[in-house]
Symmetry: C3
Subunit: 257 residues, 3 copies
Amino acid sequence: PPPESTSSEEWLWNQIKAESLRDAESEPALASFLYSTVLSHPSLHRSLSFHLANKLCSSTLLSTLLYDLFLDYFSNNPSLRDAIVADLIAVKHRDPACVSYGHCLLNYKGFLAVQAHRVANLLWIENRKALALALQSRVAHVFAVDIHPAARVGKGILLDHATGVVVGETAVIGNNVSILHHVTLGGTGKAVGDRHPKIGDGVLIGAGATILGNVLIGEGAKIGAGSVVLKDVPPRSTAVGNPARLIGSKGKPSEHE
Amino acid sequence: PPPESTSSEEWLWNQIKAESLRDAESEPALASFLYSTVLSHPSLHRSLSFHLANKLCSSTLLSTLLYDLFLDYFSNNPSLRDAIVADLIAVKHRDPACVSYGHCLLNYKGFLAVQAHRVANLLWIENRKALALALQSRVAHVFAVDIHPAARVGKGILLDHATGVVVGETAVIGNNVSILHHVTLGGTGKAVGDRHPKIGDGVLIGAGATILGNVLIGEGAKIGAGSVVLKDVPPRSTAVGNPARLIGSKGKPSEHE
Amino acid sequence: PPPESTSSEEWLWNQIKAESLRDAESEPALASFLYSTVLSHPSLHRSLSFHLANKLCSSTLLSTLLYDLFLDYFSNNPSLRDAIVADLIAVKHRDPACVSYGHCLLNYKGFLAVQAHRVANLLWIENRKALALALQSRVAHVFAVDIHPAARVGKGILLDHATGVVVGETAVIGNNVSILHHVTLGGTGKAVGDRHPKIGDGVLIGAGATILGNVLIGEGAKIGAGSVVLKDVPPRSTAVGNPARLIGSKGKPSEHE
């Protein structure tokens, strides 16, 4: 991993360009795709804006509008660019199936959904709610990842496979969290207001886990695949089953496949 | 909520136009989208026909064909238009994350999938099975909601988030039912013929619940998230777990987030 | 079912053309769709190449490129064509909701995802990994079926409904396996290298089942819906629950709805 400094973005962009150039040379069938998505762009956030706009556009929501929107927000918010970098490094580091940074940038719908969400979240905060909700909707349609624009999401996030992830309006996700596909951070249906889970730093949530209500999943905790969690889970502990029960704890957060 | 009369559709359409006009004024980036999907149309069912056709078309199944199909069925079947109105009101009423009727009309893939299903169901009944199955397939591809065209679905339906919902051929869903994402109303694989669940009025089915076989979920019952239900569930009771067990009952149906 | 001979492909293609002609005549709204996807093509694998290319293309990955790719691999690999035939027959035979071979060819996203995967798998084996991963990504985006290109998949496969299926890098799926939607063949996150399930011939995996780690599901075994399986399952036995437990065994593999 590169040094965590202001040059991480530059370092990462150079890596991605080198990867894309190598792939374009070894696989001519991909050359046009790699030039249009990566190699023709002057920066990581321009490449990402172009790629997201093409993915999320529709016949009534034009790619040019989306491109301008993403480019505007990524250009003017260094924290969004930091998060892009942190996520790319997290995915490459934690997912053994991720062969390169470019692989994540171009192919991981969880990564793309999270970057679009961060823009939707800023739109929501700025009270541009209609546009925030339209963006959420396009992400839910195209990537099958439904994150309410009000949900707060940290950095270093891995949404692996990502299909079917649902994150409710008042959910909060910390830093360095790994979430597998089909995970729900939802409401119980009995509460209004602050009604969704709070996920601590370094948590790992297995495939198909459902966490409901304003519960706290402590830092470094692990939630087993298919678990249904309705209560707080202490830091560094592991919860499994339906309903979930604790099965022990560890001294430090574990890494995730 | 408006009075349940023949003017509900008119009342609702005026609401949606007012919402869209307000959003188009406050968010110029959405103006073109809102004009093409809502404000340029003379009625709710024309707006919906246009929107569905654009969502569901492909390079080989043209939007004009789908537009004509939806418009024809919605125009000639008042019960379909009643169901559209009932669903919009149900979603706005039951889902605290739904900020407006237009939000549901334009953005909720569960709502859109159900309206397309109702047309597919009429096609199936009229023995236009090839077209019904083609429509089911487009809905499954585009919205990740797979409802067999023969399944019977009531009014006042909320499919919240909707990704991954599967409803089998002989399933029946009553009125005012709320179904979260990843819910399956499927077969056990051991039976032929009438082999799928029957869901009573006012039932709430939590995220990821799997209900298999020709079982009856009584009116007002609640099925917990992640449950696997293989037996009847009495009215107004709550079933949770894998396999599901009853955990009590209530005097009246509960509302759903 | 036709005789298992070298003429199966021809027999099946004639069936599909007859079905399509019948549907085009009875449903003029579908005639253009059926001509462009089936009736204008000289063979099953050309029809499938065209259909897959249209489904999987994007504004940056052109349909012509994908069409040439599929046609090249299907034309030059008889084993791919045998697998197409075996899968079509399996789906028609095992899924009571499948009304015709053409219904599966045109509408079943699980069928389409598996055929695209087999090409991705050959690309992976030939060390064309960037293109294999790009193809996996398109399949995951378009069909919500995420099969790592290195995973080995047998013949006679039914992916029913298919939304949300995830198959990891070192997974192996035998012949005549039926897998419902939301099924995960994943890793535990604790292992590297050979870390995914091995599924024997004739296994049936119910909706939402999660099988994790390098475990062996013996031939003819059945995994109940919603199960979480972390250990080997003996041949012809049935495992259900979270965590899964065995509930008996049978003398021979069962068929699947």
